[in-house]
Symmetry: D2
Subunit: 345 residues, 4 copies
């Protein structure tokens, strides 16, 4: 059994980590911190975890958390994450950071979109935690930067296609929608039921922070700079992301070529489901799982490729992927603790 | 008081028409037909209408319905609508058809997307029922073809811009999402709660029937053929459409030019709300109303215009617009019976 | 036109009042206050009201608000309401208080459940604002205490039956459920979508503040002290209350006697719908309306009467009833501004 | 590995069984039947099961299904279940029937509520599948009748209290609400999203078929005939049942005595969570799990006990409990395949 600590256990990514760890055969959660709920039993805050996680929330103390753990998950907001990272790494513990702090390789780009970086010396060391692309690097990493939720849906759909030259790197548009849990578990007016329910709306339309992260990885895949037009929307539901992506095919590439390329890249991947022609992703089919569903159709009028990717923003889009990374880092079966299927309905 | 009949009152557009007519100061519903519920009181099928509509459903008999009415709403499916239309017009009654049967001016195009046309001689006479564009023609029309729900959101957003040459007529993409009432009130497995709730999915991705209707009107506005890439999605909610449209600005045209153009076209329109910079449409704010909300943002990376339009698929997207057309045809105040504001929440 | 002011316009009862006043033919809203949104246009906070209410929120100043109004709605929390009431009445303005401050006639009872009362001298003067029971007193009142949302559903169902001696005043149980808008528009963790959606739970089970208000009025109707067992539940929806009430019939009284009693009491009431045998209330059929639906069934095993009442907690349960009271106080048609039917779906 | 067959795999209980079996370490699904989807891959009907269940639906052939299985789950409607049962038992396979056909021990009672019984000779042999009460009998049974969803919530809450004489067997009222998946996966108008969403309503108020099943077991526990007043309601959500039960305490018994009694009866039970004083069940905390949450409060005015039980109607209320029974019958760990925790949110 490997011992695990979570710094920041009161948000939705924190509780999702705990849920998954409770069902993992090779991990034991030894400590979880929260400033808001310090001293309270986890199960009094999250009734669903009763009997699964028998701990009390402890204060945020990076060194103490890391001292008792083989691996630490950072589920605190950006800035808090980079502040804690050096102390954690000093203890020798491995670290998966769910915040954005180590996702952007270029310090200036990070600082333009987020804030001054307090540990830039670690940027080069951090490995981008998308196992389907960077599996080997993740296995040997000390510090893994877990990708954003929207980002994962777009990168898995597009990176193999850009690498293979099947789509044009210019003119890419990602029109995405997310369930509201992506905005976290906090008492904010726009998140209350009356504002979300039976409503659908775009937001962040002139620059969402996931854009530079997507562009960084897409550019690496394309071997040239990629600019992405990205529009997020808020769905009246708890969980799920669907990205509908518009891409210009390169040359004669069509649906079949796209599926063949995905098949080559992901055919052996446990969590990537390439849907057959005519089937389209549905967020409910991946809800609560670490899966991503991919599909593609050619628009008969414009010839554009319509590429679809669905995942659960809290699982493959956050905590499930973090656990997948941890499994790799600890030498465990990559799918351990991540094999649940979605509920129907 | 003008007398009104509805052919096809058992679907969601039928009941929405009845709701609006019940609150209209100058209209009286004299008959409503349904094959499914023939002989039953309307209020036993639609409890919400109790006390508002005190009629029983009668059989589908076009001539009989029209004989007792100044104006008939056709809320039956396509094919049934064109079958009934000649009989209704013969009585001298005006007619607003909510089906697709008279929306497409070109018979061959209609027949490619739908079915053989049984009354093609009426296609030239039918007026496309988008009052903000065709107000004068509607006022004098015998037969008005009420636009599709997705269509209305896209046309109101784009037609003035294409007419003014502010956006390129090529490369237009409309990424739209609709509440499930757009699929009607029928006992179909994909419509049951367990399949819709907490789910989001694309559909009709290789050709939705609203495409030719959008292209017809966009081409007229642009003065040249327009091809549109259109992707509909199904939302886990009852009512509401949001269209997010990607357009290449022509020359230096930016957000301000778009807003100015809309202002010129729609500044006096009672049902078009042009949102100020920074505010984006929300379906809940127009729910149950005849309003459409428009807004626009420039993508800072690609320079593409992101154009947003929200409406209620059953009101401005169907029955509300049909009533707006009827008001014009009958010489009534255009806004009569259509002034309700959306509930919050 | 009568001029109206609202003190406390930023909550859901406030915005519901504004929505209804915007559609009222005889009322004009002259001022609305909010400490949170002072100085902001109403339509920037509530997009749905754009074009309907063209005001900016002003500070809470009871005298100033009342000075410019024939009638003031108090939509502030209890305590704030009683603090403002004397200043408002001094100006000569009529007042409808949506808080609990003047609902309980007995000061000690009020203070046991709420807080020390700062204006007890007004308790005797206040009229309980249930028009179906106290219509005449309301018409002449200076100060009307608008009933609670759960309360209205229970009182309309039971008061005529208790007066007529058709049910036993002992052993009454009201099992009620409400949409989450009943908890107000505030940024609290238990109200966010992730906590409410796809969840159903009881709360306040050892004493909800609506209990003494129900017992007061039920006791008046029964002519003896009535104790009520009341259990509220939270529904995963925005609007709607359903109360399922268990009562012991007196003697041989059955369903027919209950319906006849309601018919006698409410047959001419514009907002009470007595459903025929076999039809049961549905919250969606009264959503956004001022209606209450009543029905009854006899349990074949126990002989208990099951009595059902449905209403919209924000309309007949709060702001709609407040407007109904205002209509009576101002000598207007009682149904003015309150005739909308519920959306289907 | 034990081989399992499911007769009736196209409904929600069928797909829930498949989901759970896919994650079970000791069971292998060898065949699943459906008349509606015969010949189609399971994963084309239930996308969520892709990769978990790699079978095609076969025709309903009881003997063939049973011939290849150690145990058969019957997830077909009543009548179809009793028709298939003798053929299955003849093969020597064990059987868990999720229908009502063998739940009622008294043939006349069954036939009064359901239909003529075609295999009454098996009624005496069938064991009622509530493991917390009948664990030993289930382990040795050939034929287990899996309890109804509402029933499980009421029986687990009340049976120990009645056995211990802590509550009066007369005057019991169960006011229950269920998510809509309890009505099955079928194309019926009352189940479509537009009819269910944002709606709450009672149904079956003058006699729901779960009543005789509850009364049978409650009477056994009480040692005398128990009559129950039961009112089901439909919730606007997919999954979850909450029962709020009103009971007269016997003598001085209060909350603490109830909790102690439950603790004695269920303290070692893996799936029964007795909540501490002040915490109340929430359906979301048990969603998708085999758990039931229990709590109790004393009404301070009437002295009545308010007893609360929450479970997932498809898991502990149907397929999860069926799997728990199968585990017992096959000599497996009772919790095998049933340890998942609920998602938050």
């Amino acid at each position: 059994m490997h011992s695990i600590a979570i710094m920041g256990g009161s948000g939705y990514t924190g509780v999702e980590l705990m849920r998954l760890i409770a069902g993992h055969p090779g991990l034991e959660l030894t400590a979880v911190s929260s400033s808001q709920f310090e001293g309270q039993p986890v199960s009094s805050v999250f009734g669903a975890l009763e009997g699964g996680i028998d701990l009390e929330f402890v204060p945020h103390d990076a060194a103490a958390l890391a001292g008792a753990a083989d691996l630490v998950f950072l589920a605190v907001p950006h800035k808090a994450a980079m502040a804690a990272t050096p102390d954690i790494l000093k203890t020798g513990a491995r670290l998966v950071d769910l915040s954005a702090d180590f996702r952007i390789r270029d310090q200036a780009t990070y600082e333009k979109w987020y804030a001054p970086h307090s540990a830039p010396e670690l940027l080069a060391e951090a490995v981008y935690g998308l196992p389907e692309i960077y599996r080997d690097e993740i296995a040997g990493a000390k510090l893994v930067a877990n990708p954003g939720c929207y980002v994962t849906s777009v990168l898995l759909a597009l990176m193999p296609l850009l690498k293979a030259g099947l789509i044009s790197p210019s003119g890419l548009i990602a029109d995405s929608a997310s369930g509201v849990s992506g905005a976290g578990r906090s008492a904010k007016l726009p998140l209350i039921h009356g504002e979300v329910h039976e409503n659908f709306r775009p937001y962040g339309v002139d620059g969402h922070r996931h854009t530079p992260e997507m562009e960084q990885e897409l550019s690496l895949a394309a071997g040239q700079e990629v600019k992405l037009t990205f529009t997020p929307h808020l769905l009246p539901m708890d969980r799920g992301i669907l990205s509908t992506i518009y891409a210009q095919p390169a040359g004669e590439a069509g649906e079949a070529a796209v599926r063949a390329c995905w098949q080559k890249a992901f055919g052996a991947e446990p969590f990537v489901r390439i849907l057959p022609s005519g089937r389209l992703p549905e967020t409910k089919q991946v809800r609560g799982t670490n899966r991503v569903q991919l599909s593609v159709a050619t628009d008969p009028r414009s010839g554009l490729l319509k590429i679809f990717a669905a995942l659960d923003n809290l699982t493959k889009g956050a905590s499930g992927q973090a656990l997948q990374n941890a499994n790799l880092m600890l030498g465990l079966e990559e799918t351990a603790g991540l094999t649940e299927l979605a509920l129907t309905p």
